[in-house]
Point group: C2
Chain length 470, copies 2
């Protein structure tokens, strides 16, 4: 989201970081709430002067819709674009829909084009088209360009507000130019060098420019052939590249290497947070919400969760088939029945530990398919070790009240189930990675359900072998 120290009327606020804001506190929020409740317009305006733009996200997020509407009515008009930038795009769109078209267009023109595009994407297509028609043609064109790329790609994340110069410009002239465009550019820490057809030739850092002799042509000091991504690159790939290469901005090009925009450092945390949240949700056994939890309606939560739940339910019916199949054996040794939940619980716990650790290691690029050998060996050793420890505890704990034949069955089953569960949980994510499926879909619930039925088979098999033979 855009942040700005600029309270003027630049087309886009300059992305100079804020370094003087006081922190938002709970007291501040309470005070704003009280002022809103009293409809104290002047008090609100006085307070908002002291609030940095980046605090708006925190404050507005914690107010309800009515409070936000009152707040916006009391805030000076020039600050509204900054506030909208900090909101979730769906929320910002809801606010814009309530305003006349021309006013909405003016507000969107004052917002960073990448943020404006995200907000537009949340509007119904008729509203969107009507607003685009009353916007300044240049800015409407930028939004149309950015809208052409899916939001989770580099093209969808980029901003066209970069600084580009031709290779024969001198270093001192470049600094003069920077001074002129500083208001509009997303970052002036990098200047891109392009040819007459706007193909990317090189990059200069402000650092380089400042340290270079004034009359040097930028061509002589630029870093040629810089790292770039194409517009259809996945946003997470682009963000990780920015981090790994320690860049402040990453150029985005089309297939013919024309410079389209840049992705900046401040997008990285957003992208990583978004992707990590998706992984969390998948690991917990639901489909990603794609919106902040706060804005997810109960209906959306149900739709995102019910699919996996029903699938796991049907898979879970296998457990009842196993138990029905072995009902004779259970009738013959009813002492085995009370330990059924315990045993399948242990399988689920070991599997959950293994799979979350591994899916995360795959997610951050630490483990790959080629590592399957040592990963499997390590996890099987761990599964066997924790299995033997718990199996011994189980043998003693169950053996004392029920007799050591039953104790041995339970203990041996615990050890076997732990080993089996660790093995499955170690292999499955890597197999999915191989098949091109996101390994995060191997959630803890999926492993648990899978191990439930197979764990019961192991239990019944061991019971059959040991109770008949001993």
């Amino acid at each position: 989201m855009g942040r700005s120290m600029d309270h003027g009327r630049a087309a886009w606020p300059a992305r100079e970081p804020e370094i003087g804001d006081a922190m938002a506190t709970d007291e501040l929020l309470d005070e704003i709430r009280a002022l809103i409740a009293d409809r104290e317009e002047r008090g609100i305006r006085g307070l908002t002067d002291t609030i940095g733009p980046s605090d708006w996200a925190e404050i507005v997020q914690r107010l309800d819709d009515d409070e936000v509407a009152i707040l916006l009515a009391s805030v000076p008009e020039v600050e509204i674009p900054e506030i909208l930038e900090e909101l979730d795009p769906a929320n910002a769109a809801a606010i814009l829909r309530l305003r006349p078209r021309e006013e909405a267009a003016d507000l969107l023109e004052a917002i960073d084009p990448d943020d404006a595009t995200d907000i537009m994407a949340e509007l119904p297509s008729r509203d969107r088209e009507q607003i685009l028609q009353v916007m300044e043609p240049d800015e409407a064109a930028e939004i149309r360009l950015l809208s052409a790329y899916p939001p989770d790609t580099a093209g969808g994340r980029m901003t066209p507000a970069f600084v580009a110069i031709s290779p024969d410009v001198r270093a001192d002239d470049a600094i003069v130019l920077l001074r002129r465009v500083a208001e509009e550019a997303e970052t002036i820490y990098y200047v891109y060098v392009i040819d007459e057809e706007e193909r990317l030739l090189g990059v200069l850092s402000l650092h380089n420019l400042v340290l270079t002799r004034p009359n040097t042509p930028v061509h002589d000091v630029m870093v040629a052939d810089p790292i770039r991504v194409t517009a259809d690159t996945d946003q997470e790939t682009a963000a990780r590249l920015l981090v790994d290469k320690n860049l402040l901005a990453l150029p985005v090009v089309d297939d013919q290497d024309h410079l389209l925009g840049i992705i900046t450092q401040d997008d990285v945390a957003d992208v990583i947070e978004e992707e990590t949240t998706e992984d969390f949700e998948r690991m917990g056994g639901s489909q990603p919400l794609d919106v902040p939890y706060r804005f997810a309606s109960a209906g959306l939560l149900v739709r995102r969760r019910i699919g996996w739940l029903l699938f796991l339910f049907l898979a879970g019916l296998l457990t009842s088939h196993v138990l029905e199949h072995y009902s004779d054996r259970l009738d013959g040794a009813p002492a085995l029945i009370p330990y059924i939940p315990l045993i399948i619980g242990i399988g689920g716990n070991v599997g959950s530990q293994t799979v979350t650790t591994l899916v995360r290691a795959i997610g951050v690029g630490e483990v790959r398919l080629s590592d399957v050998g040592w990963v499997l060996a390590k996890e099987m050793l761990v599964g066997l070790s924790v299995g033997l420890i718990m199996g011994l505890v189980g043998y003693l704990r169950v053996g004392v009240p029920e007799g050591f034949r039953i104790g041995l069955v339970v203990g041996a089953t615990i050890a076997s189930v732990a080993l089996w569960s660790a093995t499955v949980a170690a292999i499955l994510p890597l197999v999915l990675e191989r098949l091109g499926i996101d390994p995060a879909v191997v959630s803890a619930p999926l492993i648990s359900t899978f191990v439930d039925a197979t764990g019961l088979l192991i239990y019944m098999t061991i019971a059959g072998a040991l109770l008949l033979q001993l």
Copy 2:
């Protein structure tokens, strides 16, 4: 970790981002492996010339210890510090221990002090002390200073390589100064202004300096009283502040406001990744590993996992008590037995979905204790909805073969268990947050285990009520 374009002998390599590296590819790795296998020193040296420092992490991480040793023997000595910076500190320490003390000291002097401190922390204290004694006194003092702070605090993350000037310096002189120290500073995008006792007065961005009239005293253009953190601030808090305020660097001060060091943007991704990995591991039901998965021995994995496993095991024994307590009821209606794993599985799945989504929302600051009302209402509604859907499916699926009395018991239990599980999973993380305990300890396995026993109670109670009354 430090990255550098500077291949010279500066005390610390300048933190100018690399913008010209080619990407590391699997082919590159294969080629290096082949050269290492053939002990092809010249070939290795030729290749390493083309590898950017940040690629080392990826390459070295995927080689085994012997391969790394051969690689380092073939690489020009001046590049070794850069490679060590990119390695996991434990790995870098292992490499240093094999070298003579003086050589280890020289290498550490050439590494960013924050990275050097992390590496030193992995050495046995005797080795550490011996190396510090042969290091340059200045650099040894810096490492001793940084070592005084735990690694997960702002003090442990910071680097002392910042640029600071007094308030009466003119803007153009400040740029001249920057030019002189550019080689040694971690970032020159911010210049800090301090008084004669080194207390933090303000901050200037390079951006500001370049755009200011040359003879202005920096005091007139600096941002006074900038955002800062104390050295004992949690590293995650500091990283989120950098992101939220969109800063390139954050000053770290002591209790008397003396400027000690800075935390830079490139630390943020590391910190967030580290903390997110810990959350993942906790959610999966283990204690955080604190080292990359690749470097975690099977013994460490067992130690980190067995505690929770045994706790959950003992808690899981409650399920066997419940089943034993109701054994008469089960004897009277043995058709209920096969559905035990299915029912507790559903409770675990609903709980796991709810708790992962919520713990993540709390982790990113989206949900707080004060939200408990609407969170609980929403999750109970969702739990009831998915419970009714699955309950209906269960009623039909079980009713057809077993008769609709049993079907009704199973269906009603499923709906109740889903509602109960969603309720527990919604409340528990917020209660823990209230008690000052990291809500991420409410793992999916913990919720599952808790819901197992209570779910069985619900099952037996409903069975008692419906089978007696219908």
